[in-house]
């Protein structure tokens, strides 16, 4: 291969001079990377447009529309297509959305209930600080998250409507799921009866199966990432740690020094905050305390499979481990590897064969058996040969998997009005806007420092069926 031309020494200065100019100095890697992604998207858009047209024709043929009505439908689709390519030229900004309420805090940012001002539509908006994402080497993961949410026309996955960025932040605008997350429900109920647990675990199996079919491994399935929609069915979110197989998300493209230690699993030692009292809290209070910032920065290893923690190499099977852990927590009332510190938890997970203690006297024989078959070494885990293996387990005998999502759910969240956020447990809203304030006080200087300019290319996304801000239900 040919050598990369060396940058001339003055280029740094020139770069500064150029700061306000339209022409910016880009690295060769950035250019190549952008072009490759661009061609990929070009093809995708072209193919999707054809698909939409064919789908309309197919559906019209099915219901035998009159010629006139057909013509009108075609015109409607064409109008939508035109509006869509117009919208693609428009620049989205955070002030197109009004923040209503903070719903949650995550590792790199926050999730708010927002309203898109022009059409008054409600969404959930996740905000991530670019510098945090970059510093913690998660750019590839965030891109994978964008992709999976953008691509998924999957009823088990939260739908993404827009993603965009400004200098310091990345934004994901997605469906607002009003029922709260499963962790919230666990906090309120403490323990689920077997039918309720069975329903959620069954839906979780279907949801994970669908994600695997898309070519992704989630790796971070936990009760916080399982949302409950208004009918009581689940949807997955937070694909932050999720790994796809797409080469464009390979971390090596975003490394500072060309050398790539993939910091995939969490490094528990680096983020310890001395101010957090969480470790001393009792399990139940700790659950409540999970939204404290220090806590979410570390991320909990409670649900992560041992082979992921030990970085031994893992397969999609690691997600079935998490299912076992969540099932345990639902039926027993605390996670099986609970400990006062993340380090201890990690230790317990890795030594699961000595630390896993299923209170069999309190569970049905089938339930204990399924937990045992899921929380075990990867080579023996149920699910190794696909999700059907799990569905066939005797625990699920009363469950009809086909069409499960269409059936009435055993628990339906109470939602009094469209802005009712009472299903989310409260998050401290104390001065965590400090970034924004700093930014306003000092708009010249980025609070974030520097990251390679190509890191977040092609992050922008706008969903097709949202041309007028009215997503179909």
């Amino acid at each position: 291969t040919s050598p990369i031309p060396e940058r001339k020494p003055e280029s740094e200065e020139k770069e500064i001079l150029r700061k306000d100019s339209t022409v910016r100095n880009y690295s060769p890697a950035a250019y190549k990377f952008f072009m490759e992604q661009h061609v990929e998207n070009l093809l995708k858009n072209h193919a999707q447009r054809i698909t939409r047209k064919m789908q309309l024709e197919k559906e019209m043929a099915k219901v035998k529309l009159s010629e006139d009505a057909q013509l009108q439908m075609r015109r409607m689709l064409q109008q939508k297509e035109s509006n869509y390519i117009r919208m693609k030229r428009s620049k989205m900004k955070k002030d197109m959305f009004e923040k209503i309420k903070k719903l949650g805090v995550g590792a790199f940012g926050e999730v708010h209930l927002v309203r898109k001002k022009d059409v008054q539509q409600l969404y959930a908006m996740k905000t991530l600080r670019k510098m945090d994402v970059y510093k913690r080497n998660q750019v590839a993961h965030v891109k994978a998250e964008r992709d999976i949410l953008a691509e998924a026309d999957n009823e088990w996955v939260v739908k993404l409507y827009y993603s965009f960025q400004d200098r310091d932040y990345l934004y994901f605008v997605m469906d607002y799921i009003p029922g709260g997350d499963l962790m919230g429900l666990l906090i309120r109920k403490e323990i689920f009866d077997q039918p309720l647990a069975m329903f959620y675990i069954a839906e979780l199996v279907l949801a994970i199966e669908s994600v695997h079919k898309m070519g992704f491994i989630h790796r971070d399935i936990k009760p916080d990432n399982i949302l409950i929609d208004k009918h009581g069915h689940i949807k997955l979110t937070d694909f932050g740690l999720c790994t796809g197989f797409r080469w464009t998300h390979n971390s090596k493209y975003y490394q500072k020094d060309g050398f790539h230690p993939r910091n995939e699993s969490m490094d528990l030692s680096e983020n310890h905050s001395p101010d957090c009292k969480c470790p001393k809290l009792k399990p139940l209070d700790r659950r409540k305390h999970r939204k404290c910032l220090a806590h979410s920065l570390v991320g909990t290893p409670n649900y992560i499979a041992p082979e992921v923690l030990t970085r031994q190499g893992y397969t999609r099977c690691c997600d079935w481990w998490s299912v076992g852990v969540i099932m345990f927590e639902m039926l027993v009332g605390h996670p099986p590897f609970y400990a006062h510190t993340p380090e201890e938890t990690q230790f317990k997970v890795i030594h699961w064969d000595k630390t896993l203690n299923i209170p069999k006297e309190r569970l049905s024989k089938e339930a204990s058996n399924l937990i045992e078959k899921l929380c075990c070494g990867a080579e023996n885990r149920l699910g190794n040969n696909g999700a059907d293996e799990i569905k066939m387990h005797p625990f699920f005998k009363p469950i009809e998997f086909d069409g499960l999502r269409k059936k009435t759910a055993p628990y339906r969240p109470e939602i009094k009005h469209s802005l009712d956020t009472s299903n989310f447990d409260p998050v401290d809203d104390d001065g965590s806007n400090s970034d924004e304030e700093r930014e306003q006080r000092n708009p010249e200087h980025s609070v974030n420092g520097r990251f390679p300019e190509h890191a977040f290319f092609e992050f922008t996304f706008k969903r097709f069926f949202d041309d007028a801000g009215h997503p179909y239900p």
């Binding site: 690295s27 950035a30 250019y31 490759e36 990929e40 064409q78 035109s82 797409r246 464009t248």
Partner: protein, 199 residues
């Protein structure tokens, strides 16, 4: 339908003059006006996209394009471009290439950000002279290709980006010829190369 195998590179880049990304794609097909689409909207979204990509392309080689290396905005000995914008440069003026291209990019950006020329709100029509404006924009953007190909292609080869540039050029070329947006004589400087890579 073909599936990409896990972990493999989607694009196998070839180190040859007429290399392009993912040779399987038919860019000629992709640029065609879809049936029922508004031609102005179709053209507008492409113009914005080409501006971004050509700007990026120049950005990757701009440190090698200086007043010393390129004292004029030329494409070989036979072609030289003069800048004229009716304000600061009332008469066509010879400028060093970096200065010319910077002015060009800034001008294009101001055009595409002007909602009276490139309307964004649904229902707002394009101005009557839209296509004329677009022709001017694309003709000017084409000159950046001319300069980069003729004076800086070796750098692009050195960084292994020739496939990337060629793909971008082909897309641009198919697009402007499909809708006759750049005059034949403007395309002249890259004619030979075009014949080689755009069949």
């Amino acid at each position: 339908k073909k599936k990409f195998e896990q972990g493999t590179l989607k694009f196998n880049l070839h180190k040859q003059a007429n290399a392009s990304l993912n040779s399987g794609i038919d860019l000629k097909e992709v640029v065609k006006l879809p049936s029922g689409e508004d031609q102005n909207d179709w053209v507008a979204v492409h113009v914005v996209d080409f501006f971004n990509r050509i700007n990026l392309l120049y950005g990757t080689i701009c440190e090698y394009c200086t007043d010393q290396t390129c004292p004029t905005m030329s494409g070989g000995p036979r072609y030289e471009y003069m800048w004229c914008d009716g304000h600061h440069y009332k008469k066509p003026t010879a400028l060093p290439a970096p200065q010319y291209i910077t002015l060009l990019m800034e001008w294009v950006e101001s055009q595409i950000n002007d909602e009276t020329i490139f309307p964004i709100k649904v229902g707002v029509p394009f101005p009557k002279n839209f296509l004329q404006t677009v022709k001017k924009i694309l003709t000017r953007l084409f000159r950046v290709f001319v300069h980069v190909y003729i004076h800086h292609f070796d750098k692009l080869v050195a960084i292994g980006a020739e496939a990337h540039v060629n793909t971008c050029y082909k897309h641009f070329y198919y697009f402007v010829t499909e809708f006759s947006l750049v005059d034949k004589k403007e395309l002249e400087p890259l004619k030979e190369m075009t014949e080689k890579i755009c069949h």
